[in-house]
C-alpha cells in the first residue's frame, strides 16, 4: 500500500538483471548434461577420486584454520593493541593475491633453494605435487574467510557477558569455553564452511603446486582442455552440487542466527 516511486522500480530492474546474470549460466550448466551422462560420470573413478580429494583437502584446511585461527580471531575481536590494524591487514592479504601467485609463493619457500624448504625436505615433507602442498595452499586461501567470520561472531558476544563471568570467578580460558564459544558456535561452523567452500573452489593456486594428484577443479580444467566443453560439464555439475550443499548449510545457519536475534 506504500507509494512506490520510479527510483524503487529502477532498483527492482537492476535486481532482476543481476539475478539473470548470475542464475542463467548456472542454470544452463546444471541442465546441460543428460542424466545418463551424469550417472556415467559418477562411475568414473578419476572423477570420484578428484572430488573426494577436493573434499578431504578442503576439510583438512578448514581444520587447520580452526586450530590456528580461533584463538587469533578471539584476539582480534577482544583486544586493542598497537599494530592490530596491521595484523588485520595481513590476515586479509591472501584474498587479494592472484591465485597462481599463491602457488608460486608457496613453492618459493618449499624448494631446495630456501632454508625452510630444506628443513621440510629433510623431515620428509614434500609440497610440490603432493596432497600436503594442496592442503597448504587451500589453507592459505581459506584462512582469511575463517578468521573474519569467527571474529565477527566473537564480537557479537557482549564483552559484558565475559566480564560478568570473570567477576563470578571464571578465568579467561574458562569464560571462553563456557560463555563465548557456546554463544558463537554458529559463527565457528559458518567460518568452517566458508573456508571449505573457498578452498574447494580454488584452482589457480592448486594447479601450480600440484597438477597431480588432481583436485576436482583441476580435473574439470583438464577435461575442458583435452575434450572440450561438453565433456567438462558433467564433472562441473557434480562439483557445483557439492558446493551448493555447503552453501545451503551456511545459509541455513546464518538465517537461523538472524532469526534468534
Amino acid at each position: 500500500m506504500r507509494y512506490k516511486g520510479p527510483f524503487h522500480h529502477l532498483t527492482l530492474c537492476c535486481g532482476g538483471l543481476v539475478l539473470a546474470f548470475i542464475l542463467l549460466p548456472l542454470w544452463e550448466l546444471m541442465t546441460s548434461s543428460p542424466p545418463a551422462a551424469l550417472a556415467r560420470t559418477l562411475k568414473d573413478g578419476e572423477v570420484v577420486r578428484a572430488i573426494r580429494l577436493s573434499l578431504l583437502a578442503s576439510g583438512a584446511s578448514a581444520a587447520i584454520a580452526f586450530i590456528l585461527g580461533t584463538p587469533l580471531a578471539y584476539l582480534l575481536a577482544r583486544f586493542d593493541f598497537r599494530g592490530k590494524r596491521w595484523l588485520e591487514a595481513i590476515v586479509d592479504l591472501p584474498v587479494v593475491i592472484p591465485h597462481p601467485v599463491v602457488g608460486i609463493a608457496v613453492l618459493g619457500v618449499a624448494g631446495r633453494d630456501h632454508a625452510l624448504g630444506r628443513i621440510l625436505l629433510q623431515a620428509g615433507v614434500r609440497i610440490l605435487g603432493s596432497v600436503t602442498g594442496i592442503i597448504v595452499v587451500l589453507t592459505f586461501v581459506g584462512l582469511p574467510f575463517y578468521i573474519n567470520t569467527v571474529r565477527d561472531g566473537f564480537e557479537a558476544v557482549s564483552p559484558r557477558l565475559e566480564n560478568v563471568s570473570r567477576s563470578l570467578g571464571a578465568s579467561m580460558a574458562e569464560t571462553f569455553l563456557r560463555i563465548t564459544l557456546p554463544l558463537s558456535w554458529r559463527s565457528v561452523v559458518a567460518g568452517l564452511i566458508m573456508s571449505s567452500a573457498r578452498a574447494i573452489s580454488e584452482f589457480g593456486a592448486v594447479v601450480i603446486v600440484a597438477y597431480h594428484p588432481m583436485t576436482a577443479p583441476v580435473l574439470i580444467y583438464e577435461r575442458f582442455e583435452g575434450y572440450g566443453l561438453r565433456y567438462s560439464q558433467p564433472v562441473a555439475v557434480w562439483l557445483v552440487g557439492v558446493c551448493l550443499v555447503l552453501f545451503a548449510a551456511l545459509r541455513a545457519l546464518t538465517l537461523r542466527q538472524r532469526k534468534e536475534e
Binding site: 586493542d80 557482549s158 559484558r160 557477558l161 566480564n163 560478568v164 563471568s165 570473570r166 567477576s167 563470578l168 570467578g169 571464571a170 578465568s171 579467561m172 574458562e174 563456557r178 560463555i179 557456546p182 554463544l183
Partner: protein
C-alpha cells in the same frame, strides 16, 4: 572497603585523571555524573576489567591492582543485566558457585533465601530471553549475590527499567543491601536515584571527581557550580558579598552567615523557595515581590519561574498548594528565600 590511590586510566583516548576515593565497609556508595563522565569505566576498573595506567586499587585490605577479575571477590550487575542467554535462570544463578568453591548446605540455603526474597522461584527453568526487564534485573542480582561478594558493583541498575518498575527495584536494592551487609557501589546519572538509595556518594565530570561526601550533603551543599546544576539547584547566581548579605544583580539576600570574600556564587534549591500571596508577610528576611513568568504542572509538583526585577527564580511547590493559591502565569506573588537555604559556592 574500596580505596583508590591516585588511580588513572587511559582507555581509547579517554584520560581519567588521578582519582582518590575511599568507600567504607557497608556503604551504599553512589557515583553520579552525566552521560560520558567515565562512571562505568571507573566501575570496570574496580572490577579489574579495564587496564590501570597508574595508581593502586585496594579492596578490603588487599591491593588488587594486578589481580585478575576472577580473584577480586567483586560482583557486577550491568544496566543490560547481561544474563547468559544460553543458560536457564537456574544455571545462570549457579554459574559462579563451581569457581568460588561454594558448595554445601550454607550456600544452598543462601540461594534459596535469595530466590525467595527476589521472587524469581517461578522463573528458574526459563531462558533469559523471555523475561521482562525487572525479572532479568532480579536474576542478575541473585547471580551476583550467590557467590557472596563483599562488594557489589551496580551499573545504572534502574535506568533500563520502565519508570513504573524503578521505584520497586530501588526498594529491593535497599532491602538486599540491609540483609546481606555487602558494600554497594552504584553508578547513576539520575541524582534523585542517588538520594533515594545511597548514603555516601560522589559526582564525576569528565573523568574527575568534583565532590565526594554524604549524598544529602552533596544535594544541599554542592562544592562547585557543575555539581549544583547536576543535583538540580536551579537557582544559581553570581553574587557580590557585603557582610551577611549577598547582592544578586540588585536583589539583596540575607545569608546564613557573613562571607569573608568579595564575590562568588549563591545557590538554593527550588523546593526551598516559598511562594506567598502578594500581600502576605512571610517569617523570613528575604522577601521579594515578583511576577510568575511560567507555571508548569508536573502532576505532583508545580514548577514556577518567577521574575523578580531581572532575576528569574525557580520554585517547586506541591501542585495541591499551587492550585489552592490559584497560581498561574502573570500573577504577582511574594517570593521568600529562607537564609538557611542559601548555599555559597
Amino acid at each position: 572497603m574500596i580505596r583508590l590511590d591516585n588511580l588513572s586510566l587511559s582507555v581509547s583516548s579517554f584520560p581519567m585523571g588521578p582519582l582518590c576515593l575511599t568507600v567504607g565497609e557497608g556503604d551504599f556508595f553512589v557515583l553520579m555524573g552525566p552521560t560520558g563522565a567515565g562512571k562505568t569505566l571507573l566501575l570496570e576498573a574496580i572490577a579489574g576489567l579495564v587496564p590501570v595506567a597508574d595508581g593502586r586499587i585496594f579492596i578490603g585490605a588487599r591491593d588488587v591492582t594486578r589481580l585478575p577479575p576472577e580473584r577480586r571477590e567483586v560482583g557486577i550487575v550491568y544496566q543490560d543485566q547481561s544474563l547468559f542467554p544460553h543458560l536457564t535462570v537456574r544455571e545462570n544463578i549457579r554459574y559462579g558457585l563451581r569457581f568460588k568453591n561454594r558448595t554445601g548446605p550454607g550456600t544452598e540455603a543462601l540461594l534459596d533465601r535469595l530466590v525467595e526474597e527476589l521472587r524469581i522461584g517461578h522463573l528458574l527453568e526459563r531462558r533469559p530471553l523471555h523475561l521482562s526487564g525487572g525479572e532479568r534485573q532480579r536474576v542478575a542480582l541473585v547471580r551476583a549475590l550467590a557467590v557472596q561478594p563483599s562488594l557489589l558493583l551496580l551499573d545504572e541498575p534502574l535506568s533500563a527499567l520502565d519508570p513504573a518498575f524503578r521505584e520497586e527495584m530501588g526498594g529491593l536494592l535497599r532491602r538486599i543491601r540491609n540483609s546481606t551487609g555487602a558494600t554497594f557501589f552504584m553508578v547513576t546519572h539520575d541524582f534523585t536515584e542517588a538520594l533515594a538509595l545511597g548514603n555516601r556518594g560522589a559526582v564525576m565530570n569528565r573523568g574527575r571527581l568534583e565532590q565526594v561526601g554524604e549524598v544529602r550533603d552533596i544535594f544541599l551543599r554542592p562544592a562547585s557550580p557543575f555539581v549544583a546544576r547536576f543535583v538540580g539547584m536551579k537557582n544559581l547566581f553570581r553574587a557580590r558579598f557585603q557582610g551577611p548579605h549577598a547582592l544578586v544583580r540588585n536583589l539583596r539576600m540575607r545569608l546564613p552567615r557573613p562571607q569573608g570574600r568579595e564575590s562568588g556564587k549563591v545557590a538554593f534549591r527550588p523546593e526551598h523557595v516559598e511562594i506567598w500571596p502578594e500581600s502576605a508577610r512571610a517569617p523570613h528576611p528575604n522577601l521579594f515581590s515578583g511576577t510568575i513568568a511560567e507555571c508548569l504542572d508536573h502532576g505532583f509538583t508545580c514548577r514556577l519561574t518567577v521574575s523578580v526585577d531581572s532575576v528569574r527564580l525557580t520554585a517547586h511547590l506541591p501542585a495541591r498548594e499551587a492550585h489552592r493559591m490559584g497560581l498561574c502565569a502573570g500573577r504577582r506573588v511574594t517570593v521568600a528565600v529562607p537564609p538557611e537555604a542559601i548555599h555559597v559556592i
